[in-house]
């Protein structure tokens, strides 16, 4: 595979760009693989990539119902941060953030990871208390996080309205400077390209219709392109996790909800960080193209329709203008929805399952994108060794039975 660089770009310009190779091979399914990953979203592709890179397992297929990166990977608001409250979460997301920091170079694909800082606003005394708690916990976990008072918030993001007369005035905020955004599609494409280069087969337009088991063990998957044998299978199908689990004969503590997002028409740089507010319920950043990328909470009902209800958008816009009155004359260009798996404790499941050699990675709720490389890294370990990596051991399915939940809900009304 040719390496990407400015030199390659110049060289190809002279041959009318006819020389560029396929970013990833279009593979036809083999009869059997050591590992089949169901779902070519960011997490699935990362799992395949790290299986190959870290564990030397390259006889791997990633099977995708539609086009790779077309689920939540291509629909999220691209926020990356690791400022989670509980030790278990912080460690997992921090691993991911660290992998992101070198991912463009590792993949030789510019994912445009932009560490412009993530600011979480506090609007009432309870928010402030919570923010302080989180900042202290992160600091002692060795993760960057700082508390800014209202003036500090204004300095960091001058167009925020911090006036005391606002309905919910900004009392301060926590800032993770290493947080930011990345180009979501590029993460999927870069992982696909790098995994493919290491021998992983990526099979698109191939829906899995069944999970074949024998003697309590998984032996392969039924697909639109026929049966594909597998020694091990990993399910990484955010949104559809329950559907796949049902194929394998078990249930999950998950509900699938619509999550909506929208972008504005592009404008010149106006906000140079990610701003999130749980209390007024909105988060916003500006893409490299200039669009304001805006999201909020999930729709309350379950749904696989990739559509939510319009009142969510209305509320979100009220909240946005409460924080940024100058955005009033900007316009919504496009809105869309994804399907998010929500766990009762707003933490993911990266786990063995009741079926031997079948593994599942799901339940990321609204916050999976930021975990993409970390999730793939630990899931690859879990599949390769049959046992969880220390980072994902707390995120096993049995926590719902023991009661050892990792409840990020209390910590964030909107968990991202």
């Amino acid at each position: 595979m040719g390496s990407y660089s400015v030199f390659a770009l110049v060289k190809n310009a002279f041959s009318h760009h006819a020389g560029w190779e396929r970013a990833w091979r279009d593979a036809a399914p083999k009869a059997e693989y050591d590992v089949v990953i169901i779902g070519a979203g960011g997490h699935g592709l990362a799992t395949a990539y790290y299986l190959a890179k870290e564990h030397g397992i390259t006889n791997v297929a990633v099977i995708e119902k539609g086009w790779l990166g077309g689920g939540n990977t291509g629909r999220n608001t691209t926020i990356i941060r690791s400022n989670y409250l509980w030790d278990e979460s912080a460690a997992l997301y921090e691993k991911s953030l660290q992998l992101y920091e070198g991912l463009s170079q590792d993949l030789n694909y510019n994912i445009m990871f932009s560490q412009r800082g993530v600011l979480n606003l506090a609007h009432n005394l309870s928010d402030v208390r919570e923010a302080q708690r989180r900042t202290n916990a992160l600091r002692l976990n060795g993760i960057d996080s700082e508390w800014l008072d209202a003036e500090g918030v204004r300095e960091f993001c001058p167009i925020l309205d911090i006036s005391r007369t606002a309905r919910y005035p900004v009392l301060g905020g926590t800032l993770q400077r290493r947080g930011g955004t990345a180009r979501h599609d590029a993460v999927a494409w870069g992982l696909a390209r790098a995994a493919s280069a290491r021998g992983v087969d990526i099979i698109q337009n191939c829906e899995v219709t069944g999970i074949r088991r024998a003697g309590g063990k998984v032996v392969g998957v039924e697909t639109a392109k026929g049966f594909i044998g597998a020694k091990k299978v990993g399910i990484v199908t955010a949104g559809h996790s329950s559907v796949l689990a049902q194929m394998a004969g078990f249930r999950l503590p998950i509900e699938s909800h619509p999550l909506q997002a929208l972008v504005s028409e592009p404008v010149k740089p106006v906000i140079d960080c990610v701003v999130m507010s749980n209390a007024v319920h909105v988060y916003v950043s500006q893409s490299d193209k200039g669009e304001l990328v805006i999201g909020a909470g999930i729709d309350t009902f379950t749904g696989y329709g990739q559509r939510g209800s319009f009142h969510m958008i209305e509320h979100q816009m009220g909240a946005l203008l409460e924080l940024f009155p100058v955005f009033s004359r900007l316009r919504m260009l496009r809105q869309w929805g994804g399907i998010v798996d929500v766990c009762p404790d707003a933490s993911p499941i990266i786990s063995k399952t009741p079926v031997d050699n079948l593994f599942i990675n799901c339940g990321w709720g609204t916050g999976g994108f930021k975990a993409t490389p970390g999730s793939g890294f630990v899931f690859a370990h879990t599949i390769a060794t049959g046992e969880p990596h220390p980072l994902n051991a707390p995120f096993a399915l049995d926590r719902f039975t023991t009661g050892h939940l990792i409840d990020e809900h209390g910590a964030a009304a909107v968990a991202h």
């Binding site: 310009a13 006819a18 494409w189 870069g190 490299d288 009220g318 009155p325 900007l330 316009r331 919504m332």
Partner: protein, 1002 residues
């Protein structure tokens, strides 16, 4: 009169001239103009620069689909970017400027990018800017960000107001062109409630630029007659300047109405209105968009769509130029050519890619004296800021190459048609499915999912007669579907129909060099500078799903969302992959159809109305007393009452001491209150609280904790038995609604056999909580008839009495640890009570205190606050409140969860008291606690400080914390590493003051 304005014709009002400024220059237009038509009338074609290469760009369309002519309007608070000049109605004094050009649109430094265009191919940024790593954030990205996007962002607050309106109808007709008007009239005649919305200032759609007649009268007159007929029906609502922009589930549609934009800025009133429509049936009559042909340098100013050129000359009386060439693959451009020639443009030739032109339209054109060159194409364009000439060459029979003699034709405009794309956006948003119609070379509606019908051009019916017929049919079908009787069928309006020759799809028009070679560019998405070569490159690299293609090349992702480019892009992909268009797929359209301002979406949910601010009946008093308020959920609660410039701490110290040593008063009206009645009321409480309720005496109060089924604390409060079958429950302020919802859920769905009724009385009662050693004295004065002795009125009991002349309930309960009476009167007497208490309290030094003082006082007593000591992961046992969990009751909500392995652990995080070794140091709330004094991260943590205050009463700091195995750490030392310093603390029981409770019992 401007140079390119005809002296007659069109729908503009020549008696009403308007002046406007564009890029600093003054121009004149007329009422009825758009900014685009007025610019063209003045010969201004160069209006902007393109996104990536900064190529000069002109006006391409006459409507919502415009990819190029984006402008910034006005200044200051009225500044607005990214407006399409083709949709901006001209008003006097309008000021607009080009985007993405510096220093000017005429001389734009950014055009230097054009020299590097060979590097700036699709996705180039994914392949570079990676080294050195630190340069991405410091160098590359800032450059990319600054270069991206043409428009400035607004920098001032918006002075305008916005409105929303709900509407309900039997039939919503989207689009008031020929099909829409027919549908609306049929629906109206049947007596239906009808809404007709159209994005333009006038109804008529395509008919506004039509020269032929309907029913023997000019089309525009027919439109006016239809409009007037419709307006006469009382149940018909006509909404011009209203774009149906979103189609959601359950036939819920969003419309954006522009109310004053056409009048100028600063008009007052409502600027824009969002309509939220629930329609029983929808008729989509949204028309079609013409698409360009993809030929070499097809983006030069002066090159526009044929239908647009026709609209400018017919509707606005504006010639797009003096000398033109028409380039087409279908018949519709012939009509444009005829009309342009008729109104004073010289049409040098109609270049038709089809091998022959023998159809009726061609004959009509020939009859009008027009020259037709068949089987040919434009192979090259001269001119950068304005087209100067085109080069015409014969097309090979397969359409893949041009060859033979090149003919140069000088011209100052080119009218192009690549066929029509039905505007299926709303259908697609509704979930409807499309199919590709090979004969018409476009996607047409195929399957409806919601209650809608497409009619006319948006249904692929691209001729007037058919549109009228389909519209009428759709209107009749719609009323039938809602159970109304359609009116008697009447004859369809008569129109002249010229049979059209078939379109010849030619998705890439070959140039002199292969696509992607040489300097010429075949633009597909003009706004995002995506060329045919980019699409071919993406396909070569494996970005072959339509979505990959869009995302990799950004085609169709601009402010126009690819209205004129999506089908061309898809077709070029299909051609590159050698697979038919239907198997390559189509993209789904997402709302909105055209962009909607955030102001409109927020409506009046801004400023003080951005959320409810709930206030108590005594709120005015608190405001007058200078209280600082705390937001608790939606409530405004007095936080503290600073006196003479006191700080928070000074005020709270004073308030605390006043309560401990004298008497204070708190407005406690915000607590949730639920009236519980019925023979099973006590049993119900037994099931929802962790403790037992059956034996509570009438008139007595008891504290209770409520868990969720997972065993975690959900809420707490005091409940009083008012009668054998009658209780009053109080809840926390923030949880009042959630508790009632949960209780109703249990009653209605789990235990419907229980005879219990719940009624919220939160708002009925105003509550004044009087606390302190002098409370009895003060209450005694206010309620002289009440025996306040401990025996007659003990702690945790309730009495009804007259207080200050008002019938009141008095609860002797305490959250401060002091002798305390909570006096409740109906809300409408709350202020009267409060003022009476103060009148009497003056001599007792009565001090109002806020929530902060309440928090300090309760912390001194070790009382918890749900949501502060708890966070959804804390059981009553964790709080050290084993005593409140009944071991005798067989079941209650949450009980089962206590015995789960993790929940039953004895080393869970448990509530403790903390005393800093240095009594002057107040731990910050949220500080983490460690076993080790060495605070070098990373380090294991035991838990965190939940509450922490300076206690004026004790003259030192106090804190509560949840720490692992807290119960076994009594009297040990733990540490709070704060970064700048580490504070050592002793673990104590979480009670700091009057642990025997002598005062509240006293």
């Amino acid at each position: 009169m401007a140079e390119f304005r005809n002296s007659s014709g069109g729908r503009i009002d020549r008696a009403r001239p308007l002046t406007f400024r564009f890029n600093g220059k003054r121009y004149q237009g007329f009422s009825g103009d758009t900014l685009a038509s007025a610019l063209l009338a003045n010969g201004v074609h160069l209006v902007g620069r393109s996104f990536k290469y900064h190529r000069p760009r002109g006006i391409v369309t006459a409507g919502a689909e415009e990819p190029n002519a984006l402008v910034q309007l006005e200044t200051g608070g009225y500044f607005e970017p990214n407006l399409r000049a083709t949709q901006v109605e001209l008003y006097d004094g309008l000021t607009a400027s080009s985007q993405n050009a510096w220093p000017s649109v005429d001389f734009d430094i950014g055009a230097i990018n054009g020299f590097f265009s060979k590097l700036f191919v699709a996705g180039f940024y994914y392949k570079t800017f990676m080294h050195p790593r630190s340069f991405w954030m410091r160098v590359y990205e800032p450059i990319i960000r600054r270069a991206a996007a043409g428009a400035r962002a607004p920098s001032e607050a918006d002075p305008d107001t916005y409105d929303k309106m709900h509407a309900h109808c039997d039939v919503l007709v989207a689009g008031a062109g020929p099909a829409g008007l027919m549908a609306a009239l049929e629906a109206a005649k049947a007596g239906a409630r009808v809404i007709v919305a159209d994005e333009q200032a006038e109804f008529g759609g395509s008919l506004l630029g039509e020269t032929s007649g309907i029913d023997g009268i000019p089309a525009a007159q027919w439109v006016e007659k239809m409009r007037a007929d419709l307006a006469a029906f009382p149940e018909v609502r006509l909404l011009p300047r209203t774009t149906v922009t979103g189609y959601y589930d359950h036939n819920y549609l969003i419309m954006a109405e522009r109310k004053t934009d056409h009048l100028g800025r600063g008009m007052g009133g409502v600027r824009q209105r969002l309509w939220k429509v629930r329609a029983k049936r929808v008729v989509l009559a949204t028309g079609a968009h013409e698409r360009p042909l993809v030929f070499a340098d097809n983006d030069r100013p002066g090159i526009m769509l044929a239908g647009a050129a026709r609209a400018y000359v017919n509707r606005y009386g504006v010639k797009p130029g003096n000398t033109g060439v028409v380039f087409t693959n279908n018949d519709s451009a012939y009509e444009a050519a005829i009309d342009l020639a008729k109104t004073g443009c010289r049409i040098e030739a109609i270049i038709d890619v089809r091998p022959q032109a023998t159809g009726a339209m061609a004959q009509k054109a020939r009859a009008a004296g027009l020259r037709i060159i068949c089987g040919a194409a434009i192979a090259g364009v001269e001119g950068a800021k304005r087209v100067k000439a085109v080069e015409i060459a014969p097309l090979s029979s397969d359409g893949e190459t041009v060859g033979g003699p090149v003919k140069r034709i000088e011209c100052d405009f080119v009218a192009v048609s690549g066929g029509w794309t039905p505007a299926v956006h709303l259908l697609s948003q509704s979930g409807g499915k499309l199919r590709f119609d090979e004969a018409k070379a476009c996607f047409v509606p195929n399957v409806s999912v919601q209650a809608e019908t497409s009619a006319g051009a948006c249904n692929g019916t691209l001729f007037l007669e058919g549109a009228l017929e389909e519209g009428a049919k759709a209107g009749r079908a719609a009323v039938e579907a809602v159970g109304l009787m359609p009116a008697q069928e009447s004859a369809l309006p008569k129109v002249e129909t010229v049979e059209a020759a078939p379109i010849h799809a030619l998705w890439i028009v070959p140039g002199k060099k292969p696509v992607g070679h040489g300097k010429a560019k075949h633009f597909v998405d003009a706004q995002n500078d995506v060329t045919a070569a980019d699409i071919m490159l993406a396909s070569r690299e494996g970005y072959r799903s339509v979505e990959h293609l869009k995302r990799y090349t950004t085609t169709g992702m601009g402010t126009d969302q690819g209205k004129t480019s999506n089908v061309n892009a898809l077709a070029i992909l299909s051609r590159t992959l050698s697979s038919p268009i239907p198997s390559v797929g189509t993209t789904t359209f997402r709302p909105p159809y055209t962009p909607v301002t955030y102001g409109t979406l927020a409506g009046r949910d801004v400023g003080e109305l951005s959320d409810v601010a709930r206030v108590t009946p005594m709120h005015g008093w608190h405001v007058a007393r200078g209280a600082v308020f705390e937001d608790v959920g939606q409530w405004k609660r007095p936080w503290y009452y600073p006196k003479d410039g006191e700080s928070l701490r000074e005020a709270v110290n004073r308030e605390c001491l006043a309560v401990r040593n004298g008497v204070g008063i708190l407005d406690a009206s915000t607590l949730g209150k639920i009236d519980i009645q019925g023979p099973d009321a006590a049993e119900f409480l037994n099931r929802v609280y962790t403790n037992a309720w059956s034996k509570l005496g009438i008139g007595r109060c008891r504290y209770g904790i409520m868990c969720k089924e997972d065993g975690m604390v959900f809420d707490d409060g005091v409940t009083t038995r008012l009668g054998e079958n009658h209780f009053l429950m109080t809840t926390t302020t923030g949880n009042a609604a959630a508790v009632l919802d949960r209780l109703e859920d249990y009653l209605q769905t789990e235990w419907p056999d229980l005879k219990v009724y719940l009624t919220s009385v939160t708002e009925h009662w105003a509550t004044a909580s009087i606390a302190g050693p002098k409370a009895r004295e003060l209450v005694g004065e206010l309620a002289p008839d009440l025996d306040l002795s401990n025996d007659a009125f003990p702690f945790m009991s309730m009495k009804e009495a007259t207080v200050a002349g008002l019938a009141a309930r008095i609860y002797r309960i305490s959250f401060t640890g002091e002798l305390s009476y909570e006096i409740n009167v109906p809300a409408y007497q709350g202020m009267a009570l409060w003022e009476a208490i103060f009148a009497a309290g003056e001599t007792h030094g009565l001090t109002p205190y806020g929530t902060e003082t309440m928090h300090v006082l309760r912390a001194e007593k070790g009382f918890i606050i749900v949501g502060q000591e708890t966070d959804g992961t804390v059981t009553p046992f964790d709080l050290g409140m084993d005593w409140i969990v009944s071991t005798k009751k067989p079941d209650f909500v949450g009980k089962r969860s206590f015995s789960r392995p993790d929940t039953a652990r004895t080393d869970r995080k448990q509530l403790v008291g903390l005393l800093t070794e240095d009594p002057e140091e107040v731990l910050p709330e949220g500080a983490q606690i460690t076993a080790d004094a060495d605070g070098t991260p990373p380090m294991p943590m035991l838990g965190h400080v939940t509450s922490s205050y300076w206690s004026a009463t004790l003259g030192r700091s106090i804190a509560m914390a949840l720490i692992a195995d807290g119960g076994n750490r009594q009297d040990t030392t733990v540490h709070a590493p704060l970064g700048v310093k580490t504070l050592a603390c002793k673990v104590v029981k979480p009670v700091f003051f009057d642990s025997e409770g002598a005062r509240l019992n006293g």
